[in-house]
Symmetry: C2
Subunit: 212 residues, 2 copies
DNA sequence: CACTCTATATTGTCAGTGTCAATATTGAGT
DNA sequence: ACTCAATATTGACACTGACAATATAGAGTG
């Protein structure tokens, strides 16, 4: 699907521009933030005319949507990898906790993507982004369904538990990231914070008292 | 604290400009979104020169910070009001649920504020915003502490439960608002969605099995 | 090989935008 | 009546997103 040539020489036809624009765009998002990112500076930095990006993206928004799409694909992969690091008899709660940690850490380590993933995009306009986002949801849901199979989640409500979990994980990232929380939280390392928060949640996931 | 004159005639000195800029700014945020908001259009719409806003706000960001500040103040009020509609013997879980609902509904009904409340702002640059945000946190925390007094929340961890709750509520709003959730969720009315999600959470809040 | 055709990139242009500087207007306090 | 500081205006500049017209190159065809 992507073009093949990697090196972009000084030829008139870049050959790889779309991919490079996304890569450098991500770098600039990381360095300066969304509101500081301009297509013109991006073009200049890539070494291309100020209008070249418009061959590959209808819009500035379209570029951001492409980055968001990549974010969702990477996120789904990252979570799945984290879940797969497992022994066959591993307790589901342990896996649940590891997945949550993987989600939040991914966001902190990919702030460029995070900045554009949760804006509103017209799904008709960006079907690929829509698919990528739906794919992430499926990954999360199948994870929760494993919890149902293990008896940790009440059956028949996997979608509800999925959006609940997603909401919580996203919220944890945003609240911790804006750093408007007061000192007592700020002292602990990020890892501990994630662990503590998620622990609190999965108390609600434990089997009802009528099971040991 | 705010200036008193309400009507803004065609006098050279507006007398009320800061307040009006915030109000009209909120209206424009609601209509067109953050990225479409420009100080110049705002000034034109208020009927003032394109540089008048710079008397009251150092920056475009400063205006948005002022709106965010107002958002936190309103939010804290809204939640507190919702919590106070109560009979003295009301079960804390009922109050908890009502507060959560109030939070999410507030966000949906104040999307203008919501758009600017959770960006990163330099807290040294905007101490008022910082205070307002901290104030909201205190309101949430005292709410949770009532839950501790009622025996619903494990003692000594109110800050953790507070940020957990805040994270979840914020996440619910964002996830539901971006509408990238799949159809099965989209059918239910918002109210039911909030109820279902929060219900799932407060299973974790119930007293441990060693209490009836 | 020559030739066309299309994807790709460039140059030129324009209205809008954020922000600085310089200037004008006003009203409150002396 | 006069001063002065707060407030608003006009003017200017570089930068931005986006459109239109033009240039280039490389792949497919004869």
């Amino acid at each position: 699907m992507w073009s093949v040539s990697i090196s972009h020489d000084k030829s008139y036809h870049h050959g790889n521009l779309r991919t490079v624009l996304i890569e450098v765009g991500i770098a600039m998002l990381q360095e300066e933030g969304v509101e500081a990112l301009s297509l013109r500076m991006l073009a200049k930095r890539v070494g291309v005319s100020h209008n070249a990006p418009y061959m590959h993206f209808a819009d500035k928004e379209a570029l951001l949507a492409a980055i968001a799409e990549q974010g969702f694909l990477l996120l789904a992969d990252h979570i799945q990898s984290a879940l797969e690091l497992t022994t066959p008899d591993e307790d589901w709660l342990v896996r649940f906790h590891r997945g949550c940690r993987a989600y939040v850490m991914f966001m902190f380590e990919h702030k460029a993507h995070a900045q554009v993933m949760f804006h509103y995009y017209d799904s008709a306009k960006y079907p690929d982004l829509s698919r990528a986002s739906a794919n992430t949801l499926y990954v999360l849901e199948s994870w929760i369904q494993q919890g149902q199979a293990a008896g940790y989640v009440t059956p028949g409500e996997s979608r509800r538990w999925t959006t609940l979990t997603w909401s919580l994980l996203h919220g944890i990232f945003v609240i911790l990231n804006t750093k408007r929380t007061l000192p007592p939280l700020g002292d602990k390392p990020l890892d501990t914070l994630i662990h503590d928060h998620v622990s609190s949640l999965y108390l609600g996931l434990k089997p009802r008292p009528d099971e040991p």
